[in-house]
């Protein structure tokens, strides 16, 4: 139980087409992450799955059952929102149990589920508090707890960590990963943050302008991106794109090299250039080099590398790790 199938879902707001035909299958127990630039329709797709928006056309199937006419509360889903969306007038306990009360769950069952969820998320000390009396991280845990007690077939997360500070984000990310393992529930997770996407996902769905660009395991997307967009979206710092004509590559409009697949040398190499800026991160160093042949390149070097701005360096790409894209942005074999 807990599979999801989306068939050619389209959604328009007035004359604006936000989703332009989405097909997707999510297997039971899978953790699927939607990534994509702002405004590409990630939240809209999630709301269509939840039943908070009606699709203009197409079908949504949960567990093989068509749910287009089923209200959100009966779809067997739970959703965690970016803004937490806790009920301000209810205590933590009542926030978590409201949905179950609405569904006429027996009281002792509600008590049991709230107890399990709150111990799982270490929320016991706060059960009688109002949301206003909690910190941001605690509020988001309550929101997750509220989803857990519903024991849904499908968890939907809409950028749940983006309001938290960096340290808390790492902790909560871990908690979500553990939750997924413990409940072995199907989860769909929307994020901007590619670290979250790479670390959490079984499969990543890259969306752009209301279309799916590519679906695949994190390493598949990293190693063999289907097109220029996916190549630029996955990986940080971003892949370098070089005009194919400059490099004497007749077939490729653009050539891409990831910053970590370039090496530098002070004496010889493929592309000569000048250091513009160096970022020292401790574990690695990002160099920005302006080359004559390939333009501005970002290079990621593992460990410490001393380079003064203005110094001359030679950059060499790893030929096995360069990508070629045609005029439409498609990856060439």
């Amino acid at each position: 139980m807990g599979s999801l199938k989306i068939e050619n879902v389209k959604k328009s707001f007035g004359s604006v087409d936000v989703l332009k035909g989405i097909d997707l299958e999510v297997n039971d127990g899978e953790f699927v992450v939607f990534v994509g630039p702002s405004g590409c329709g990630k939240s809209t797709l999630l709301r269509v799955i939840a039943g908070l928006e009606d699709a203009t056309s197409g079908n949504v199937l949960i567990d093989g059952r068509k749910v287009d006419a089923v209200p959100p509360s009966d779809r067997g889903i739970a959703m965690v929102f970016q803004t937490y969306a806790l009920y301000p007038h209810l205590s933590v306990r009542n926030n978590m149990s409201l949905g179950l009360k609405q569904a006429k769950t027996p009281t002792d069952e509600i008590t049991r589920r709230v107890a399990t969820a709150s111990s799982m998320l270490s929320l016991e000390p706060y059960l009688e508090r109002r949301p206003a009396e909690l910190s941001g991280g605690q509020r988001q845990r309550v929101a997750i707890g509220r989803a857990v007690v519903r024991e849904p077939k499908l968890f939907l997360f809409d950028e749940p960590l983006s309001n938290l500070d960096a340290a808390l984000r790492v902790n909560t990310r871990l908690e979500i990963a553990q939750l997924h393992r413990r409940l072995s529930a199907t989860m769909i997770y929307v994020t901007h943050d590619q670290v979250e996407a790479m670390t959490l996902a079984d499969r990543i769905v890259v969306l752009n302008g209301g279309r799916i660009e590519q679906i695949g395991r994190p390493m598949e997307l990293y190693n063999s991106p289907a097109n220029e967009f996916v190549a630029s979206f996955i990986g940080s710092p971003k892949m370098n794109f070089i005009d194919g004509a400059h490099l004497g590559e007749p077939k490729a409009k653009t050539v891409g090299v990831r910053p970590e697949h370039l090496t530098v040398d002070a004496k010889s190499g493929a592309w000569k250039g000048t250091v513009i800026h160096a970022e020292h991160l401790g574990a690695d160093t990002n160099l920005y080099i302006d080359t004559e042949k390939a333009g501005l390149l970002t290079i990621r070097i593992f460990g410490v590398y001393d380079a003064e701005p203005g110094a001359t360096l030679y950059a060499t790409p790893n030929p096995a790790k360069t990508y070629r894209f045609d005029a439409d942005g498609k990856t060439l074999a």
Partner: protein
């Protein structure tokens, strides 16, 4: 930094302005109240001085209370004001929620139409309203006044509340939908508490013109049984002789209920602000 916010001259200046404003605003009210407790001669001889043992006289109040029906007038005013307020807030908030929350054809147009009443005074339609009330047999009933005041208060209420309701987080309403709350529960339990400060503001703005109105009581409900306080107080203003003691006493008494309502709403206002929405 703290010097700038706590410097003595600034504090004094700020308080001076506030005190001056308070004095100006309260002056007429205070004059009415002190004169309501003086004898007729003293009212005219020394209108600004407080009552002294010689001039102290409650004849105004005894006249008003002896008039017998004054309690009834108060009751009428109170019923009309509270009932109108209730309907304005209920229907206004519901309409505002629909306009703010649901996408349907003609949403914007409907919003403009509902707000039109802010610009067109309802009194322009007095003749038609009177004909309507006569035809439906509602003349000389409190129902007539309640209906008219509800109509009068709705446009501003819808206009202000729909702006506020647009700001209530979509996520919160969606969370409610996923938990299986009906649209009515979402409206009453999630949205209304969050716009309570706006409701209190609308309530104050709606209540005062209704309580003070003379026009519609005079036209629609002038009978003895349905007179409101403002209409009842006219009794003491004659064409040739005016019983100033009684008029001032009636006005002083008329302040009280509004004051009580105002206190209730302003407490709501403060509570609404402090309990706050949760982000």
């Amino acid at each position: 930094m703290s010097k700038a916010t706590h410097s003595l001259p600034r504090t004094i200046a700020a308080h001076a302005v506030l005190i001056a404003y308070t004095v100006i605003a309260l002056f007429p009210v205070v004059v009415i109240i002190i004169n309501s407790m003086k004898s007729r001669n003293a009212i005219f001889r020394t209108p600004l001085s407080p009552p002294t043992p010689e001039t102290f006289d409650l004849v105004g109040y005894t006249t008003v209370l002896a008039q017998g029906d004054f309690f009834l007038y108060f009751q009428n005013s109170f019923i009309v004001t509270v009932a109108s307020l209730f309907f304005v807030l209920l229907f206004g908030a519901m309409a505002a929620f629909a306009l703010a929350e649901y996408r349907f054809k003609g949403n914007t147009l409907m919003g403009l139409y509902l707000a039109l009443g802010i610009m067109i005074p309802i009194r322009l339609g007095t003749v038609a309203i009177l004909q309507l009330m006569v035809a439906s047999g509602l003349v000389n009933t409190l129902t007539a006044l309640i209906l008219v005041y509800t109509a009068q208060g709705l446009p501003l209420c819808v206009f202000i509340l729909s702006e506020f309701m647009k700001q209530v987080s979509d996520d919160l309403k969606n969370a409610g939908r996923i938990d299986g709350l009906s649209e009515y529960r979402i409206f009453f339990r999630l949205v209304l508490p969050l716009v309570r400060p706006a409701m209190a503001t609308v309530a104050v703005f709606t209540m005062i013109p209704i309580w003070n109105d003379l026009w519609f009581p005079l036209i629609l409900a002038p009978s003895e049984a349905t007179k409101t306080v403002t209409l009842g107080a006219q009794l003491f203003i004659g064409q040739y002789v005016t019983n100033w003691n009684a008029v001032l006493a009636a006005l002083s008494l008329a302040i009280l209920p509004v004051l009580v309502l105002y206190l209730i709403f302003s407490r709501q206002l403060i509570r609404g602000i402090t309990s706050g929405a949760v982000k």
